[in-house]
Point group: C2
Chain length 349, copies 2
DNA sequence: AGCATCACTGTAACCGGTCACAGGCCTCGT
DNA sequence: ACGAGGCCTGTGACCGGTTACAGTGATGCT
């Protein structure tokens, strides 16, 4: 016969429970619970003695017991479906992640990071997320047709996406930067500064950011009666290298260009050495404006003018919307304004 | 008056419990639990009918109830104490994170990402981690004297660190690349290729990586009877820009150098344009070797020879060690071998 | 036949919280 | 003096699992 040892010797002392605190404080465990949750109708001295007992015993609530009783987990998942793109190539992504972590931490919520790249991981992610482990899900730039998306929607998990998700406006919330307005303001600045031959290095056209920034460029030109020249639009992949490549093309196709609006800072950064090698002074001969205001923008030579992508606001809003969704509000899509940051590569006129 | 909604907001009908499955299958709920956990001594037909009942009801176990009963949370924390460094500047970090996520996912463990940069966040992190929310903690390059570390150790949370943590060998496990051997092999390769004036761009000397790579450099020279010249060692911050800066210094101080070993790929990348502007051909006049084999190494011109930092192995080992720690084994520090990858910036002799 | 063993199953007692409900005590109104 | 009602507190019933322990019937052994 193996008797159960009351005080287990090897594994150290066990953590105090709410009952231990109640005994210490000389009240019932229900009262301790009330103090912990800030419920009304508890006498000041009870509050005081419970508080003291808590610090004396070093008590912390068992999160699993609490979750079991309340039905809330206190944690939300940050789901990545395209890590190779987001995590490794996009410096903005780190800013977004940082912002989300901060916003969640402030709300005492836990961030569960899930990477669902392989089919196997995606399957596990769906079961996990539908299984009640988390209170909600934050998604980065999901693909509209992704089956994962519809499975989560079917499981009634609250979801907030970063970037618009076509076809799911009524089932999931989303937060997006006003890409179009940002792009437009950048191009209008170039026009106001006297540029007449403005080229654009566009992002991938299967992303909403790439499309909207291109539309903003085109609309700004149209609004000022400047004809859109197909030759003045090159396409890149967001990366530094693709920006350099695109710039070489543009110099060949539009030798008289006097302004470049690149859809990302990295691509804008790629244009600078190419322009220098071609003997064009920035901003003297050619003005350059990027997009994102990533960390690298200010450190370039010359420092890069750019459209500030308000990722801190976006992450904050994502968490806020998710909170509302969890509380039972209906899905909502919002847009966050961008702003123009002028630096050496295209100073104010 | 605002009545409390009885049914949880997100979900309409409530999820089936183990009792529902038992009723469906015509057995007791203990039997269902036994089937779920693969316990012995359950009749084949009971297993079958339970399995059927599970698929019929769409049952998934409530993770919080399970955690409460077993005392295991099934999740581990990945703690970042220096996000500005790791998350934003270090491309390797993303690789490590990816690897850890994969290893945990394969073990059905959840990754909780915690960023503890501000004092407030650090405090919350300690309470959270000591509070039994997670089964263990993975730490990236913690600073040995960090009070956070000793608090976690005191709370008896299983910890595995990436990189050596001096003074905690008996309390926490750690996994590190063999930085010293890697650095040494890089420098020996340069010597074998005929270089005689080999400079080093060192990393920060308050990190174990920075120190060990410098030691490896010094020891390789000593082993081949080459005197260490203080002027041939410059210091950088891991970053591209600091590498360029260091290279300019070195060209001034050691004009006859014919080899450079940089402690990071980013710093090595920074040397290339500086060398080109100075009229030195790589690898003709000067051979360059980096460290890490980060994504960028192969895309440079010329492609960078470098020491492969086995981050995939490291992440895998970290998770394995943490598992052993959780199972009750004693802490263990292990080293993972590196390998030399030769490319255009210093091809094989 | 009687008893031990084996293979399996069910009951009940946890795990550590939350919360509905039933009081108790004190003050106030009548 | 006594009931009403406000404030505060304690009891007990959950939440949904795991698991110790106590059966139960069938079989094997003496």
């Amino acid at each position: 016969m193996i008797p159960t040892v009351p005080t287990s010797p090897g594994t150290g002392r066990k953590r105090p429970t709410i009952r231990d605190v109640a005994r210490e404080a000389g009240v019932s465990y229900a009262t301790v619970s009330r103090v912990l949750n800030g419920r009304e109708w508890v006498s000041p001295e009870a509050v005081r003695s419970v508080r003291e007992a808590i610090t004396r015993t070093g008590y912390t609530a068992n999160p699993h017991a609490r979750s079991l009783a309340t039905g809330r987990s206190g944690s939300i998942a940050f789901l990545l479906t395209e890590p190779q793109h987001l995590l490794f190539e996009d410096p903005n992504f780190a800013v977004l992640l940082r912002g989300v972590a901060q916003a969640l931490s402030a709300r005492e919520l836990t961030l569960i990071l899930m990477i669902a790249a392989t089919p196997e991981e995606r399957g596990r992610a769906v079961t996990y997320l539908s299984g009640g482990h988390v209170d909600g899900v934050l998604l980065v730039s999901p693909h509209s047709g992704d089956p994962l998306l519809s499975q989560l929607v079917k499981a009634e998990v609250p979801i907030v996406a970063c970037g618009k998700v076509l076809g799911h406006e009524t089932t999931i919330s989303s937060v997006a930067a006003d890409e179009w307005a940002g792009a437009r303001s950048a191009v209008e600045h170039l026009i106001a500064a006297g540029c007449r031959r403005i080229a654009h290095i566009a992002g991938p056209q299967d992303t909403s950011g790439g499309v909207d920034r291109l539309r903003g460029y085109a609309d700004a030109l149209a609004a000022h009666g400047i004809a859109l020249d197909e030759a003045a639009v090159a396409h890149g992949t967001w990366s530094h290298e693709s920006g350099a490549e695109a710039m070489r093309d543009l110099l060949r196709r539009v030798p008289d260009l006097d302004g470049v609006f690149a859809a990302s800072d990295a691509m804008a950064a790629g244009t600078l050495p190419v322009l220098r090698e071609a003997g064009r002074d920035v901003p003297g001969d050619v003005r350059v404006v990027g997009f994102d205001d990533s960390g690298l923008a200010a450190t370039l030579h010359p420092p890069l003018s750019t459209v500030r992508n308000p990722l801190d606001r976006i992450s904050e809003e994502m968490v806020r919307l998710l909170g509302e969704l969890i509380a039972g509000r209906t899905p909502l899509s919002i847009t966050v304004p961008t702003s123009l940051v002028l630096r050496g590569s295209s100073p104010p006129p």
